[in-house]
């Protein structure tokens, strides 16, 4: 098939996006843009206390307020739930999984925990009435720090669980301890990765419309319409067959919408009760409390090495905040990094332990990279520490330990299909001109400049493309990791593609059309990609974990092969030749050796629908569905470098350059890939320098709006220098995931650069985010 990168094909070309036309004109279909006749509006009353016993809920005043249709406490709705909000990843047999209902009725366990709900004729009236709900609270001690939460006598998030320890998960190779004991050098470093608040630009929203036969249509700003349909049956008892879930235009997710939230269950439950469409749109400040957070992990990372710099063992022990409840995959997030604590390095002995910890905080879950930024950060920071300890150049130390032969089975047990880590690093060094940077750094140090220069590296790999279903089963994930695609020729030759993926900015309408246009030899304008509606796309596992192309895209390719197979049988029948005598290229079947005897695929589509002359027993139509379950994860990798300027008087850090070289396999749309890389890097930079979801000692969230939680603007980041190296992945398109690479790689590169800028002063560590305050303090500490 025509899938090689070339100007003759759509695949490999920077095709402009089909998605842009409506979004640029302001005619996007975001959930909040949709209001149905009779719609009523929901407001949630939330606990202002991180931990409190609820002694009373008085709804009288709210119920009497203007425009109010109904108001309910947690107790009022207790009978509406067929089950707890599910957590799909019980990572160990003895994990503690306390129940979690859309409204709490006994104890509020984090600031923002819902205690009552009001429905009114308008958004404003619902909000007015919500303020009239009187809740009696008996405040209790609360804890936000994962280490303190495990101490004896710490306030318990779930009293009946009896501990804040949610689970302990461990993966260790047989000879690990012996390798550690035998090492010439052991380096251990400790890291705190703060909470990150995802901040998709579109706040969450849901609109639930009850149907006449007990059916329900839900529009949600979600990454996972298929999962939402599934969980509605578990929580509300509505059969999946009666649920239609539509994810229209979705304004970013970054993992925060790989989730089914309390408000989605509430909207559906209330729509069912009231028989009217119920709508809820999150306010940003509300979202800071009620939408999941990411990270919040304390790590201790140990390398064992020989004197010459061969790393012989890696050990990670991490305390991972779960927050107050387990959301959809909360406990599993650390596991998404569990197999890559050796990164791109051949490290034969391996030990990783995660302890999940409940705290009185917003639940954590997937945020861009999910588990892999955590692992890569501690690994790449400690590479620099080991290099300093051994007196070996940090770039050479990385190179010396790179995996060289592929496929490569890591100590953790998974096999990397492809890669060339030296190639990415070589290209990075070409682009960077390290000697020039180091010369300037030396000059500034010599002069004692106020502004010092630093350069930091991060060489990474990651596992994405979630995921082989059998592996998911083996690690106790509740569902499969396949995806589906349908290709449907219409009688006159236009093509509908139905995908199980659910894009929210990734451009699948364009990239998927590129794949189909090349494979079937049709014009890209003839291909229409449908997604995000469970009534249209019945089978799907949605979009997260850089999985859409390597799972859904490969399913699409397989569906294309089935189309070709059927079309070939029709052509062979009508031209009275054997199938083996036909070849297919550029959208036409031609009899080998007789170029004048051919039939275009659009003609075949018409013949398939006319059905006047099909092979005996063949069904009319030209449509095929493929469901693809990947045999392996996807293994992108690369080498990134950050150059920073640090003001030693104010502690302010500015990025001067950022250079990224990634191997994401064969590119389908290089323009879209670059966009993913830019955005990913920016979220990594944000974590390194700006963003921190901070709680005080009593578990009050201190960063509650965009004025205190610093999402970077255009003024905080530079233009990026990007390039790609390429090794083919072991799949029919040679493709790898790209959505999370930048976020995984960037944070350690930037923090390593900040430390490098100050290393001549004696600074050896700065914790994320490297705010002016932290940097200034680090400088003062070494000066005194």
């Amino acid at each position: 098939m025509a899938v090689a990168e070339s100007t003759e094909t759509f695949v490999g070309s920077p095709v402009k996006r089909k998605e842009d036309a409506s979004l640029l004109r302001g005619t996007g279909s975001f959930v909040d843009n949709l209001t149905l006749p009779g719609t009523v509006f929901m407001a949630v009353v939330r606990s202002p206390y991180p931990h409190a016993r609820i002694t009373s809920v008085s709804l009288d005043a709210a119920r009497k307020a203007e425009g109010v249709i109904a108001a309910f406490s947690g107790a009022d709705l207790a009978g509406d739930w067929a089950g707890s909000m599910p957590c799909a990843w019980p990572v160990t047999e003895d994990i503690k999984m306390p129940p979690h209902f859309p409204l709490t009725s006994d104890v509020a366990r984090y600031q923002g925990d819902g205690v009552a709900v009001v429905v009114a004729e308008s958004r404003a009236l619902a909000k007015d009435a919500a303020e009239l709900v009187e809740v009696g609270y008996e405040p209790l001690d609360a804890i936000a720090d994962v280490e303190k939460a495990l101490e004896d006598g710490a306030p318990l998030v779930h009293e009946d669980v009896g501990t804040n320890e949610c689970y302990v998960w461990k993966l260790e190779t047989d000879d690990f301890q012996a390798a550690l004991d035998a090492a010439d050098v052991v380096v251990t470093r400790r890291y705190f990765q703060p909470r990150l608040i995802p901040n998709a630009m579109e706040p969450r929203g849901v609109l639930a419309q009850p149907g006449p036969t007990g059916d329900m249509t839900v529009w949600s700003s979600t990454q996972v319409p298929h999962v939402l349909r599934f969980t509605m049956q578990l929580v509300l008892g509505i059969p999946e067959s009666k649920m239609r879930v539509i994810a229209p235009d979705v304004g970013g997710g970054f993992g925060s919408k790989v989730e089914v939230y309390a408000e989605e269950y509430l909207a559906v439950a209330l729509a069912k009760r009231l028989g009217r469409p119920v709508k809820w749109t999150e306010e940003r400040a509300e979202g800071y409390q009620a939408t999941i957070h990411g990270r919040d992990v304390v790590h201790e990372l140990t390398f064992a090495a020989t004197k010459d710099g061969t790393i012989t063992a890696v050990k990670s022990e991490a305390l991972c905040a779960m927050g107050s409840y387990l959301q959809l995959v909360t406990p599993g997030i650390p596991l998404l990094g569990a197999w890559i604590y050796s990164g791109p390095y051949a490290i034969p002995n391996y030990s990783v332990t995660f302890t999940g910890v409940f705290t009185h905080t917003t639940p954590t879950d997937a945020y861009r990279g999910a588990g892999r930024p955590e692992a890569t950060y501690v690994l790449e920071r400690t590479m620099d520490a080991l290099a300093a300890e051994l007196g070996i150049d940090r770039v050479e130390l990385r190179r010396k330990n790179f995996v060289q032969e592929f496929p490569y089975t890591m100590a953790s047990g998974l096999t990397i299909d492809s890669g060339d880590y030296d190639a990415s690093l070589d290209r990075l060094l070409e682009l960077l001109d390290l000697p020039a940077i180091q010369a300037e750094q030396a000059e500034r140090r010599e002069r004692g400049d106020v502004k010092q220069l630093g350069v930091g590296f991060s060489t990474y790999n990651e596992m994405c493309g979630l995921a082989p279903s059998r592996i998911l089963g083996a690690i106790r994930y509740a569902v499969g990791g396949w995806d589906s695609a349908t290709i449907r020729f219409q009688p006159l030759g236009s093509v509908q593609v139905v995908t199980g993926t659910s894009p929210h900015g990734q451009g699948h309408e364009t990239s998927w059309a590129q794949i189909v246009a090349d494979e079937l030899g049709v014009d890209i304008e003839d291909v229409e990609v449908l997604h995000g509606d469970t009534a249209v796309s019945q089978l799907g596992m949605d979009t997260y974990g850089s999985r859409s192309l390597t799972v859904g895209g490969i399913a699409l390719w397989h569906a294309g092969q089935k189309i070709i197979e059927k079309a070939q049988a029709i052509v062979a029948h009508q031209l009275e030749v054997s199938e083996a005598d036909l070849e297919f290229s550029n959208g036409a079947f031609t009899v080998k050796g007789s170029p004048d005897r051919s039939m275009g695929i659009k003609d075949v589509a018409f013949q398939a629908h006319a059905a006047h002359d099909l092979p005996d027993g063949m069904e009319p139509g030209l449509e095929a569905t493929a469901v693809f379950d990947p045999p392996n994860f996807s293994w992108p990798a690369g080498a990134h470098a950050a150059v920073v300027e640090v003001d030693t008087e104010t502690g302010d850090t500015r990025l001067v350059r950022y250079v990224a070289v990634d191997d994401v396999g064969s590119p389908v749309n290089p323009m879209i890939i670059d966009g993913q890389v830019h955005g990913g890097i920016t979220q990594g930079i944000a974590a390194a320098l700006y963003e921190e979801g901070a709680y005080d000692e009593d578990a009050n969230l201190m960063t509650t709006t965009m004025t205190t939680y610093l999402v970077p603007s255009a003024a905080e980041v530079p233009s990026f220098e990007t390039d790609r190296t390429r090794t083919e992945a072991d799949n029919p398109l040679g493709v790898k995931g790209v959505g999370e690479t930048g976020t995984i790689a960037a944070a350690p590169a930037v923090v390593n650069a900040v430390v490098d800028a100050l290393s001549h002063l004696g600074v050896t560590d700065i914790q994320m985010p490297a705010t002016p305050e932290r940097v200034w303090n680090a400088i003062q500490e070494v000066r005194t």
Partner: protein, 154 residues
């Protein structure tokens, strides 16, 4: 309620507004112009940016009644005769949008910046767009799109 007359995308509207209604909700909910998005409660994100008398204004910082007698342009009013405005076209060419939620506000801020003659180089463009947050693009391609529409090289 107060009587207000405002002109949006060239069309005059006479409305009875509650004094507390923000301009952005007047546009979205009274006039059905849902291209103007709401991204935050704190005038931080710029998703709701519109042009008021040609200047970019965050429509969540202004009450509807304050718009009495003013001319407002929203994203729906930017294209002419079906043709995208040069800034919209540049966003398409340079892949300056992904999820598209910040895009209307970002485009209108850019239009205002260019028309004010302030999009003179990369630094000026970055500073000029400081009030508009995007979570998808890392701003790289947005800066290129604005530069391209402004006829400056970056």
């Amino acid at each position: 309620m107060r009587s207000v007359a405002l002109t949006v995308n060239g069309t005059r509207h006479e409305l009875e507004l509650e004094p507390r209604e923000l301009l952005v909700f007047v546009l979205r909910e009274r006039l059905g112009l849902t291209g103007t998005n709401v991204g935050c409660d704190t005038s931080s994100c710029g998703a709701c940016t519109v042009l008021v008398g040609g200047e970019s204004v965050k429509a969540c910082t202004m009450l509807g009644v304050q718009a009495d007698g003013l001319e407002i342009t929203t994203i729906e009013g930017l294209a002419r005769n079906g043709e995208l405005h040069p800034v919209q076209q540049a966003f398409h060419e340079e892949h300056a949008l992904q999820c598209g939620f910040c895009t209307p506000g970002m485009v209108l801020s850019a239009v205002s910046l260019i028309e004010a003659g302030e999009a003179t180089d990369e630094e000026a463009i970055r500073l000029g767009l400081e009030g508009n947050l995007c979570r998808c693009t890392g701003y790289h391609n947005i800066v290129r799109a604005v530069a391209s529409a402004a006829g400056v090289s970056v």
